[in-house]
Subunit: 372 residues, 2 copies
């Protein structure tokens, strides 16, 4: 049973390719961020996987990537079929509302009927067909002017993800599984996560948004009118010689805000948001514990990323990332995390994987930028 | 209060410099064994420290070093004052009875009245004066034909060392603290070690032996007559042009046995052995847990060997050995052992430090000799 996904009319995919992935240091670096790594272990970068997954829905000509200006060359090299004017370089980091909003505004001018779907460049998804089914439902709900998100059916009680509370079916043509979103909730503690999952009324928030470009920007404008006015002014000059002049003037002043706060939460509060439950494997690979989970073949299997002939361990769990040519040996430690790179080594445990971000902050403070 | 130790007449020190220190891999290597490392952190190799400690007792002209043929150049370079004919190269490893016995037999021929004292090249001793006092007592007991050992007064219940059971004072001129040795006991479990230390009747076996050369060889001959006959035959030709021919003929056939079994245990069983309690800091630095203990400034202090500006850790205990130019980071792990060298990395815990030997065995089996 192959994937017979057809390209969806007027559907445009947005791939925000931002974020270093600090908690994956020293694997992820400022100049080689998470989306440029083969974290799924299939020989391709996460960015390339994201592209391949979206081409079936949007077609290669209807995908726009937003990335930091320093990563533009790497993105082009990863995505040779990306249209030259479909790479939006952000002069400086401004968070997701500005990045996605600008691309939506550019697409809106190029195709006033556009339905946009935004999908992060650095997530791992294991079942493309199920992903395509969910996005297709989301596309149909977006046609009916909903702002749509894809929520992942939880496979466990995780405190590493935010949740979407959605219990009431919403009747929408072409989107039979749509549920009205009551609210978004931040990463809960483990006990709360357990209750959420047991109730069956919560899905993982995977940060995927689908809406008409005009609806998305309209919702954003209700919350942040100045931001959207600036984004639309930039978009108006984008495909003209004025682009750089306008961007240079407006971009530095843009408000830094996540699209979750600028669109998703207020829209949900106003009863304008539905979620399509996604029954596919998904992970945002937020830290080495997530990477260990993804790459372990099961309980009692140490995950190894890199040349496994250079890793010798009697540890049953955890992860070794081998990126240098050295022999890595681990004796008697469970849930260990060892990340070996040519200029920096990290040793921690799955339990403390989230603390790597604080370590990176400390390295920054100590002016050890050379390894970041 | 300086150390006014005078050279002891006819006293000859033997320094067996053998043993790779497998449990200190990848710091110790076959071509750079434990005794060539600065494990005391004072800028000198353990071998050099051993030499300096013994010069005061024996004089530079009365110290003989026995080492593997491949380490002879490094030993000479470490000990420029070592007499050219005082370096005994072992053509192949034959354990301590052959190594120490051959040197004792050579010394016996050069000085029939010799009293020999054998002290490993790779132990750490913190109070030279107390060491000198103990050895001087041992020297006097050896003059009265005893085989003597120095036993270390335990500072804790350690299961990492063998013990000497000795409760009965033995009246010997010049050796007021001598105790008759009842028996040697192998490394006990922790509960047994606790009982030993509480009883006050047990000392750590530091593998130090003092005796007249003739007495030592005589005791060894009672147990292993063929071995001693061969050693004395080699010694007879040692300072002649026949040395290589005789050595080549006899050495390969020598029995491999530790001096503990060939001399110490049978002599103790026959009532011929006394121990001088040593009240000095001592460690055989058998594994990284020992190295961590030695180099920690106290509870809550991570030991760092190497460039500590290249180590960033929030771990309160354990040890990081930094021998590469890489940044080493450790997050949230107590009692951790990280040994970072240019071609091999070890990650373990103090608890499992003894298992490093098994790892080295495994590397040998896998033909990864390049890193051993």
């Amino acid at each position: 049973m192959g994937d017979t996904q057809a390209v969806l009319p007027h559907f445009h995919a947005i791939i925000p390719a931002g974020g270093v992935g600090s908690r994956l240091w020293p694997l992820s670096r400022a100049d080689h961020p998470k989306f440029l790594h083969d974290l799924a272990g299939n020989g391709n970068t996460l960015l390339r996987n994201t592209w391949d997954r979206l081409v079936a829905l949007a077609g290669a000509d209807n995908i726009v990537v937003a990335t930091g200006v320093s990563h533009a060359p790497a993105v082009r090299s990863q995505l040779p079929d990306l249209q030259p004017d479909h790479l939006v370089s952000e002069p400086s980091p401004k968070e997701s509302a500005a990045a996605i909003g600008l691309v939506a505004a550019i697409i809106e001018r190029r195709d006033p009927e556009a339905i946009v779907g935004s999908f992060a460049a650095d997530h791992v998804i294991s079942d493309d067909e199920a992903f395509h089914r969910a996005v297709t439902e989301g596309y149909h709900a977006a046609q009916a002017d909903w702002v749509v998100t894809i929520g992942i059916r939880p496979s466990e009680a995780s405190s590493a993800f935010g949740y979407i509370h959605a219990a009431t079916p919403e009747s929408i043509e072409g989107a039979p599984s749509a549920l009205l979103v009551s609210s978004f909730v931040e990463k809960p503690d483990f006990a709360t996560a357990t209750q959420y999952v047991a109730s069956g009324d919560y899905l993982w928030n995977a940060g995927m948004f689908i809406a008409k470009a005009s609806v998305l920007l309209g919702r954003m404008a209700e919350e942040k009118p100045e931001l959207v006015a600036a984004l639309r002014e930039m978009a108006a000059s984008w495909d003209s010689p004025e682009r750089d002049r306008v961007t240079d003037r407006l971009w530095p002043e843009l408000e830094k805000i996540a699209i979750d706060y600028a669109v998703a939460e207020p829209t949900a509060a106003a009863g304008g948001m539905v979620v399509i439950p996604g029954d596919f494997g998904w992970d945002d690979v937020g830290d080495f514990a997530a990477l260990a989970r993804m790459h372990s073949k099961g309980p009692g299997d140490l995950a190894i990323l890199g040349d496994n002939t250079m890793v010798l361990s009697d540890s049953a769990t955890g992860i070794v990332v081998s990126q240098s040519s050295r022999l890595v040996t681990v004796v008697g430690l469970d849930d260990i995390v060892v990340v070996d790179t040519p200029d920096a080594l990290l040793v921690t445990s799955k339990e403390h994987a989230q603390r790597v971000r604080a370590l990176v902050d400390m390295l920054n403070q100590q002016d050890r930028g050379g390894v970041l």
